[in-house]
């Protein structure tokens, strides 16, 4: 069969090495010139339960997953019984004959082929039963017409830190799976994925790229408490902390996290924290503290379905309204929503600048789909990013100021900022309402002035804000409105549409959630004949915000809130007829 893309899935119990096998295969295909997007489903436990890992392999950019799977690797019976339904017609299930069975009835019903392999035996013969996943990788590579040269390199790198015995055993396991297919199914491959020229890509999740973007942007203080799906930011930054010279602190709880970060930011560090909705809930009072003390801070919320513990390891875009309103009182905040790994990189660096220029909290709103799923992106370049510390005073500048007022009333709302340790810059950063010097002041006029001054910062920013991003045909009368991770699936599907259909559609991605580009959005929506809002939540939270700010109520909505992301098929059926 000739084809140039592949939807590959591996399923088994947690602890079977499902994810590590998938990540290795992703790397192998990336180095073979392919673009990758991966997606993992797993319950909130360490052993047992059912895990799956899906890999989209494509010569063109892949940013989403399809429901249908071409090759399913089943390490247990549950992977067959639960996931056969996803196999595409003429799809192939490759299963461990020692652990699972495929009945003739199942094969006939789904019109699929089964390939029973002695994964357990081959793994044991290579040195350990745990390596079934690697045997399956070897088998997969043989089935899609690849050789082992790139794969051997990936295996060596992956197991290097575990010593040469482990490396050699895994190389043996890989080869045994590969040889088994070659020997027993000679000439009868599933498909022949063509050889592509290598690209200068990396395979990375949005969490890791967000961390890298922050590092480029000068991050030097990171505090967090583990919470799925934000934890890999902590893991990554902790792993490079010494090398990059930054402080990474795992604090006792999220309240400590945000206050430690604010303490560091107050004395001049570039500080960031990350969590998910639950941890963010604990941080909210201090979000307001950052607002009133005008302290730069970047807070990342990697969303998962709530409320409370919700669906801890699944995906949703349910926190947008929460981010807009979190904490008591009124103060300016900036909310950015990256749509993929590249945007997470860019916006993290930018968020640190915005926080310091506007001296106010900046929230980055991500979600599990992109945060834990890896994708190929062009190698990041750091030379386009400049650190901008806004109105942070130098000692020389401060020397020229006679009576320093930290909260001086200014036209743009931003007051010059001194740091503890500077001569002549002593002031009080006050959680109480305060006068320009920082002292507590409950006077009515002062209150008005300070509140207005803080809001002015947002108006200053609103004038400089980039508008929402338009994809597709800018002149099209049909508009699809999206934010965050739905970007991937909507754009992927857009490229699958007929040219005629593509000409009818434009896509508007709102990346700056707050402040909202209300004028731009109003104009786009008013000029549209049909508008469709796509959100991974039940309440159309961006739709609510747009209605609030523009008066435009989007009636046509595609919402999904079962913890799963939108699959390509779901979007295609809508956009194809839009």
């Amino acid at each position: 069969m000739t084809r140039n893309n592949l939807s590959w899935k591996i399923g088994g119990e947690a602890g079977f090495g499902i994810k590590s096998a998938g990540v290795m295969l992703g790397k192998i295909f990336m180095r073979s010139g392919y673009e990758i997007f991966d997606y993992t489903e797993y319950p909130s436990l360490i052993r047992g339960g059912h895990n799956t890992f899906q890999l989209m392999v494509d010569p063109n950019k892949a940013n989403s997953v399809s429901q249908s799977v071409d090759i399913l690797v089943a390490l247990n019976q549950e992977s067959i019984d639960g996931y056969l339904v996803e196999l595409s017609h003429s799809g192939l299930v490759l299963y461990d004959q020692a652990k699972a069975k495929l009945s003739a009835r199942q094969a006939a019903k789904y019109k699929i082929e089964g390939l029973a392999l002695p994964l357990s035996d081959l793994a044991k013969d290579s040195g350990g039963g745990l390596m079934r996943n690697v045997v399956a990788l070897g088998a997969t590579l043989a089935l899609v017409g690849q050789n082992l040269s790139i794969a051997n390199g990936v295996i060596k790198e992956n197991f290097k830190r575990k010593g040469s015995t482990v490396v050699n055993n895994n190389l043996k396991a890989l080869k045994s799976g590969f040889d088994y297919i070659k020997k027993n199914y000679q000439g009868n491959f599933f498909c022949q994925l063509p050889k592509l020229p290598a690209k200068d890509n990396i395979l990375i999740s949005a969490n890791e790229s967000l961390a890298l973007g922050a590092l480029v942007g000068g991050l030097n203080f990171y505090v967090a408490y583990p919470m799925t799906p934000s934890s890999s930011i902590l893991h990554y930054l902790a792993s490079v902390a010494e090398k990059t010279g930054i402080v990474v602190k795992h604090a006792e709880d999220e309240i400590a996290v945000i206050n430690m970060a604010l303490g560091a930011a107050h004395v001049g560090a570039r500080a960031m924290v990350a969590t998910s909705g639950g941890g963010f809930s604990l941080m909210t009072e201090s979000l307001g503290l950052a607002g009133i003390t005008e302290t730069p801070i970047v807070m990342v919320n990697v969303q998962r379905p709530g409320p409370a513990t919700g669906l801890p390891t699944w995906t949703e875009q349910g926190d947008l309204q929460f981010m807009l309103r979190a904490a008591q009182g009124e103060f300016p905040r900036i909310i950015l929503a990256p749509g993929d790994a590249q945007e997470s990189f860019d916006l993290a660096a930018q968020a640190l600048n915005l926080a310091e220029i506007y001296q106010t909290p900046v929230i980055i709103l991500s979600d599990k789909l992109i945060a834990e799923g890896s994708t190929t992106v062009q190698k990041f370049k750091s030379n386009t990013i400049r650190v901008n510390r806004g109105k942070l005073l130098t000692q020389t500048q401060l020397n020229k100021i006679k009576n320093y007022n930290r909260y001086q009333i200014t036209g743009d709302g931003i007051s010059p900022r001194a740091l503890p340790g500077m001569r002549g810059g002593v002031y009080i950063a006050n959680s109480d309402e305060h006068n320009p010097l920082g002292f507590s002041d409950e006077g009515g006029d002062n209150r008005h002035q300070q509140v207005d001054k803080r809001w002015a910062k947002l108006e200053t920013l609103a004038k400089k804000l980039p508008p929402p991003i338009i994809y597709g045909n800018p002149k099209a009368k049909n508009t699809v409105v999206i934010w965050g991770s739905t970007k991937g699936v909507v754009l992927d599907v857009y490229h699958q549409l007929s040219q005629k259909q593509q000409r009818k559609i434009k896509i508007m991605q709102v990346q700056y959630i707050w402040p909202l580009a209300d004028k731009f959005i109003t104009e786009v929506l008013n000029k549209s004949r049909k508008v469709l809002l796509i959100e991974n939540n039940s309440n159309a939270s961006l739709g609510q915000l747009i209605a609030q700010e523009t008066g435009f109520k989007i009636k046509n909505k595609l919402l999904k809130y079962d913890g799963r992301p939108f699959f390509r098929e779901e979007i295609f059926s809508i956009l194809d007829k839009f």
């Binding site: 930054i246 206050n259 303490g263 930011a265 740091l419």
Partner: protein, 285 residues
């Protein structure tokens, strides 16, 4: 510097006769005698009568939220080790809302001085029982007498691994000043719990009540501040006699000492510019 250099133009709002006045003076004197400059000190205050002190000290001040002084102070110290960082809280603030932070800050042993105003009531919210209130203490929130046992911050800090654990008394201002100096000079997390009678709401634990009971460990030649067992023993003495002074001190390394990336220049003193991540991308290629 003199203690006068640490006074702002703001008039203290504490009740006349409140123990906070004596603490205010003692701390200013301690800062002056240690030759510290205003701009090199960061004081982190919480919320309550003690927290209102934020306006009266002429140093860098962060007036935090209720219960959150300690993590803020730790974060600031890690980011700029050149600063002398003090966290100032009340007993409701520090042992109620923020109790958890204390234990973890002690574990980490960042070089921060933590001073807790201990008057056994919530003064600013009109006298409800604080976690340090003695069992049976009657207040607006505990009209039949508080059921809980009083928390014992000294024993708790010792059990958590405190490297400097002390108790002061607002009625012994000279001793208090020396205690503050010792705590600030201590490398590591120092806790100074200060008996500071609330003359408005606490009619039991008055200045006289403390004068009748307190004895000074620092004047006891047989007391060894490095002896943890002895410290534990003294920490549980309560009733007719109550000890104060330095219960325990050791030379454990600080959090900053143990972080390789914090050696050398203070974090915030290093040039902040775009970081080159070329090397870091290798693991993703």
């Amino acid at each position: 510097m003199t203690e006068q250099d640490f006074i702002t133009q703001q008039k203290p709002t504490w009740c006349p006769g409140c123990g906070n006045h004596a603490m205010w003076i003692a701390l200013r004197q301690a800062l002056a005698e240690l030759n510290l400059k205003s701009e090199n000190i960061l004081m982190v205050f919480g919320i309550g009568c003690s927290g209102n002190g934020a306006n009266f000290f002429k140093t860098n001040v962060w007036h935090s939220l209720h219960g959150r002084t300690v993590p803020t102070a730790v974060g600031a110290k890690l980011a700029n080790k050149n600063l002398t960082v003090l966290a100032i809280a009340g007993d409701g603030d520090g042992y109620g809302e923020g109790m958890g932070h204390l234990v973890h800050a002690i574990r980490g042993n960042a070089n921060v001085t933590y001073i807790v105003h201990d008057n056994k009531v919530y003064g600013l919210t009109t006298g409800q029982a604080a976690p340090t209130a003695e069992q049976g203490y009657r207040s607006k929130s505990t009209p039949a007498g508080i059921i809980e046992e009083a928390t014992n911050p000294i024993a708790l800090a010792l059990a958590a691994g405190g490297s400097f654990v002390a108790r002061g008394f607002a009625g012994q201002a000279k001793h208090l000043k020396e205690l503050f100096k010792a705590a600030i000079l201590h490398r590591g997390f120092s806790l100074v719990d200060v008996f500071q009678p609330c003359i408005t709401f606490n009619k039991i634990n008055t200045f006289k009540w403390y004068f009748d009971r307190l004895y000074n460990l620092d004047q006891d030649k047989n007391y060894n501040q490095q002896n943890l067992r002895q410290a534990f023993q003294q920490s549980t003495v309560w009733g007719k006699k109550i000890p104060y002074g330095i219960f325990y001190q050791n030379k454990r390394t600080t959090y900053g000492d143990n972080l390789p990336q914090l050696q050398g220049q203070a974090l915030v003193k290093r040039p902040l510019k775009t970081r080159n991540i070329k090397q870091l991308l290798t693991e993703f290629s």
